[in-house]
């Protein structure tokens, strides 16, 4: 066969962006395959956004719809803000994967199907009717289907490797990856390096994986069934040095950065819970950086240990998800009363109760705002994208320390596990965090007043061990200034108002709200918070290009709101608030500003698509 002649027939096609869905059994290695593809695309200079979507079982029943683990990536030659509404390509390792993902494949999209995953047994497990095989009937005629016997090719490739059948089976995701690299014209070297590092102690396995990876590439290059290579040019991103980052990792290193910039040791009291656990994993590695991680016996002990650490002068943090935040609420009342800095990370998931542990939702906003006994206001911040977790958690730390208060930081499963390229800052670009401990008595006659406040109503932080400042604090109401126990009626009202006003004062230490895109006074403002950023941003951008009068405002600071927010919103004819809940920010906005805002709710454990938001905006504009 004349290979050169054969190659001439391959077509190269330039595309703006491409959405790929890697889909298979939990054990098929789809998350790793997707991440490797992502890393390579990022090095190449594509902008991108990822969305891992996996079941809560570690190894759900093989071959079933319940066990499908997906990894979605959108790579582009222009700016990308979401993992994409619909797929251009599905890699279906078995029949169940195709069944789950086909509804979102674009017309004319590509299916790469692993033939062995469509045998009788797998078709049955995926609950296709007896005798039906989508690869063999006409049901896929609107798509480009590549049937590839991945298992057979992997076995052939590794026949002489001396590896057992299990190890050979495990390498088949590398064949897929190699084939994908060919289809999208990406180099193999980043993944080769990764394999060599990962299997440094098992050279035979490393070699087998590299061989299979190359075999996948060659398969695309040499066989006739693949005729087209798709090229996604590097994106025109702002110049600088980039890395890939997930929301949870950004949160972890944001905490490390705040610890270093404030000069305070970092203490994390935490109890493992999906999808927040990665942050505890990450920080447990940094013991050399003045970081202590404490895996507590339960969620309550986690927050309480952090309160203890804050009391001694640490930057104290607890990380959790919704059910855990519910358990911590009594302790948050204590922290509010003590007026100690504390950062509470809530990586939200579908609820209530165990709900959808691995799926995303934004339904803890009102719990964060109001979910405590008594009048106990505290600041609430929300991150809008994987990389924004860094800046937002850093701000949460700054506010906690400078305003002596617990702060709730909201992230969610979507941005926590999703990733994107990030033009990361350097040490010297980070804002300073001002820490002051009281070292001398603060009374005019040498008394110690633990609750004497500064002009912004912030009380002093006093470390136990400081000579001459011995004092008691506690959960009972305190007398203004002295902090002694007081049951006095008027004093309680004064203290309640002081605690509230202290939090309201934070609005003078945060930036004003302004449109992220679009103009002030446009016909409609889309007001978002948290992880809806990407979908809203893309929807508004596309509608602006179509000439519509629309703007996007996105909130990082939810309590207190930026001081100009009401005025800004009043400038628009209409306000639309899309949320992955039943309208929680909507309630807050209506209550605060008495404006007739409209909500857009989605509670499917899945992020908004761009189209869902566009359609609603258009509907509102027409109304």
């Amino acid at each position: 066969m004349n290979v050169l002649q054969e190659r001439k027939e391959k077509i190269s096609k330039e595309v703006d962006n491409i959405v790929i869905r890697f889909s298979g059994d939990s054990g098929d290695g789809m998350q790793l395959t997707g991440m490797q593809f992502t890393d390579t695309a990022a090095f190449f200079g594509n902008d991108l956004s990822t969305f891992p979507d996996y079941p809560s079982e570690i190894r759900a029943p093989i071959g079933t719809v319940a066990g499908v683990s997906g990894f979605q990536v959108n790579i582009g030659s222009s700016e990308i803000y979401t993992p994409g509404d619909n797929y251009d390509v599905i890699i279906a390792m078995n029949a169940a994967a195709l069944k789950v993902d086909l509804p979102r494949l674009k017309k004319g999209g590509i299916i790469v199907a692993n033939l062995q995953g469509f045998d009788k047994k797998n078709l049955l497990l995926a609950k296709y009717p007896e005798g039906v095989n989508p690869l063999e009937d006409t049901s896929l005629e609107n798509y480009i289907v590549h049937k590839v016997d991945i298992t057979k090719h992997t076995k052939e490739c590794l026949a002489d490797s001396g590896l057992g059948i299990k190890d050979i089976e495990r390498s088949k995701n590398m064949f897929v990856l190699g084939l994908l690299f060919w289809m999208f014209d990406k180099p193999l070297d980043s993944t080769v390096r990764f394999i060599k590092e990962k299997f440094a102690k098992k050279p035979a396995i490393a070699e087998a994986n590299i061989k299979t990876l190359n075999a996948g590439w060659n398969y695309g290059d040499n066989t006739e069934i693949f005729t087209t290579q798709y090229k996604v040019a590097p994106a025109k991103l702002p110049p600088g040095t980039y890395r890939n980052i997930s929301g949870n990792h950004a949160t972890a290193i944001g905490l490390l950065a705040a610890s270093e910039k404030s000069g305070l040791p970092l203490f994390l009291g935490s109890y493992p819970i999906t999808p927040a656990t990665d942050i505890l994993h990450d920080l447990a590695k940094y013991k050399a950086n003045n970081v202590k991680t404490f895996q507590a016996e339960d969620e309550i002990a986690a927050v309480c240990s952090a309160i203890g650490a804050s009391y001694t002068g640490n930057l104290a943090v607890t990380t959790t998800s919704g059910p855990g935040l519910a358990l911590k609420t009594e302790a948050l009342g204590l922290a509010t009363m003590l007026e100690l800095p504390l950062v509470v990370v809530n990586v939200q998931r579908g609820g209530p109760s165990t709900g959808l542990p691995t799926k995303t939702e934004q339904a803890d906003l009102l719990m964060a705002m109001h979910g405590r006994h008594g009048e106990s206001p505290l600041p609430v911040l929300a991150a809008s994208s994987p990389s924004d977790c860094f800046e937002t958690i850093y701000e949460a730390c700054r506010i906690a320390i400078e305003h002596m208060t617990p702060v709730i930081f909201l992230s969610d499963g979507y941005i926590a596990n999703g990733s994107e390229p990030w033009r990361f800052p350097t040490d010297d670009q980070l804002r300073e965090i001002d820490v002051k401990f009281l070292k001398e008595p603060n009374g005019d006659n040498g008394e110690v007043f633990p609750y004497r406040r500064n002009e912004f109503l912030v009380r002093p932080w006093i470390k136990p061990g400081t000579k001459g400042l011995e004092h008691r604090i506690g959960g009972l109401e305190k007398e203004n200034k002295t902090g002694n126990v007081s049951y006095d009626a008027l004093n309680h009202e004064i203290m309640t108002r002081l605690r509230s006003e202290k939090i309201n004062n934070i609005q003078y230490f945060i930036p004003d709200a302004k449109p992220d895109s679009g103009e002030e006074n446009a016909a409609i403002a889309v007001l978002g918070w948290g992880s809806t950023y990407g979908a809203i941003k893309t929807a508004v951008k596309e509608l602006l290009q179509e000439g519509l009068s629309v703007a996007h405002i996105h909130l990082r600071y939810i309590h207190p709101f930026p001081k100009n927010l009401g005025e800004l919103l009043l400038g628009y004819d209409k306000v639309l608030i899309p949320e992955m809940n039943m309208g929680q920010l909507l309630q807050l906005i209506k209550a605060a500003y008495l404006i007739p805002a409209t909500g857009l709710s989605k509670v499917q454990g899945l992020p908004f698509t761009t189209n869902e938001i566009k359609e609603k905006i258009i509907e509102l504009l027409k109304a």
Binding site: D39, T241, Y286, I300, F424, P425, G468, R472
Partner: protein, 345 residues
């Protein structure tokens, strides 16, 4: 055994420990004695006053914090142990004292209690056990005896009580002791031992509640009954009790047996107390129940068990030092950049 350098400049007296707050326990409450003994002992411990931290939960006992002129936090119900874990982990230099009651420690705070014992922070855990809920005005507690008549058990409690020392030993406590409010000297001795012990020191204090459970422990302190009902453990000494010191406890295999000197037994035949012997400590803790051949045993006071093992905050510190020497501190810029970066021009 640890010896702490005495800071003579920072020396203080019992009076210096009075916070000046009005003490608001009921007249005759056993808590007064505990406060007095703590204030008596502290100046002798060689710890500067500002290094003491009291962490308490909720209940009559937990008001203790307000009356000591040290650092202190009166926290929330059951969580003092968890808060103290964070205090000690983040600043091992502090002398941390947890004050709790039987409800706070064993009911609402039961989980934190057992895990604190297991983790073995070098802190002291004082549980004022009055076998009743007092601050909520008289309900049975997890240490109330079966059949106890209270407001929530008008026909008698149907619950089996915890045996606190057995619970602590089961949770791997490294120091288990018992004392009582009406024996100041004994309590002072136990407090000093608890302080010296490196690891979590569990001190159960039998404390009389004159309002809701008066006299629950009088048998162990009243002159007429004390010698028969209580036995005071001393390291290396035989287990002797009785009105004329005429009774002793010996081990028949693994079964404790009460013997009398009139039957020809001498001290050489008796069980010699060894705080480090966990098997024997388990048996002593079970004198609480009448489980050995239906024999009624005297209630043991003193150090039931004490043996040192690695303490949490030190292990944590050592591990950090190892990582520092092995890998070194990661510069912030390195953390920010991660391992893989690329440039866009």
């Amino acid at each position: 055994m640890e010896t702490l350098a005495i800071d003579t400049n920072g020396s203080f007296t019992s009076k210096d420990l009075d916070s000046g707050m009005d003490v608001k326990w009921c007249p005759g409450c056993g808590d007064y004695s505990i406060l007095k003994q703590v204030q008596t002992v502290f100046p002798e411990l060689g710890v500067p006053k500002e290094k003491f931290v009291f962490i308490s939960g909720i209940g009559c006992s937990s008001r203790f914090t307000y009356y000591m002129d040290t650092y202190g936090m009166h926290s929330i119900h059951g969580r003092a142990a968890a808060i103290a874990s964070g205090v000690k982990a983040s600043n091992p230099d502090l002398s941390v004292w947890i004050v709790s009651g039987d409800g706070d420690a064993f009911s609402i705070g039961g989980n934190h209690f057992i895990h604190l014992m297991r983790k073995n922070f070098d802190v002291n855990y004082l549980v004022f056990n009055n076998q009743i809920y007092s601050l909520t005005k008289g309900q049975y507690s997890p240490t109330s005896e079966r059949g106890k008549i209270t407001k929530t058990s008008p026909y008698g409690s149907v619950e089996e009580p915890f045996n606190p020392s057995e619970l602590a030993l089961g949770a791997k406590a490294s120091f288990v002791s018992r004392t009582l409010d009406r024996d100041p000297k004994h309590m002072q001795g136990i407090l000093k031992r608890a302080h010296r012990h490196k690891g979590t020191s569990f001190v159960e204090v039998y404390q009389n509640c004159p309002v809701f459970n008066d006299g629950a422990f009088f048998a162990f302190s009243d002159k007429e009954t004390k010698k028969e009902e209580a036995i005071f453990l001393e390291q290396g000494k035989p287990l002797i009790f009785g009105n004329n010191d005429d009774k002793g406890i010996r081990l028949d295999g693994l079964t404790p047996v009460i013997v009398q000197s009139q039957n020809g037994y001498s001290t050489n035949d008796l069980w010699i107390h060894d705080e480090k012997d966990k098997t024997k400590a388990n048996l002593i803790s079970r004198f609480f129940d009448t489980t050995f051949n239906d024999t009624h045993f005297p209630r043991p006071f003193g150090v039931i068990y004490a043996d040192e093992r690695p303490i949490y905050e030190e292990s944590m510190q050592h591990q950090a030092e190892e990582v520092i020497s092995l890998k070194g501190k990661v510069p912030l810029n390195k953390i920010l950049s991660g391992d893989k970066t690329w440039n866009i021009l």
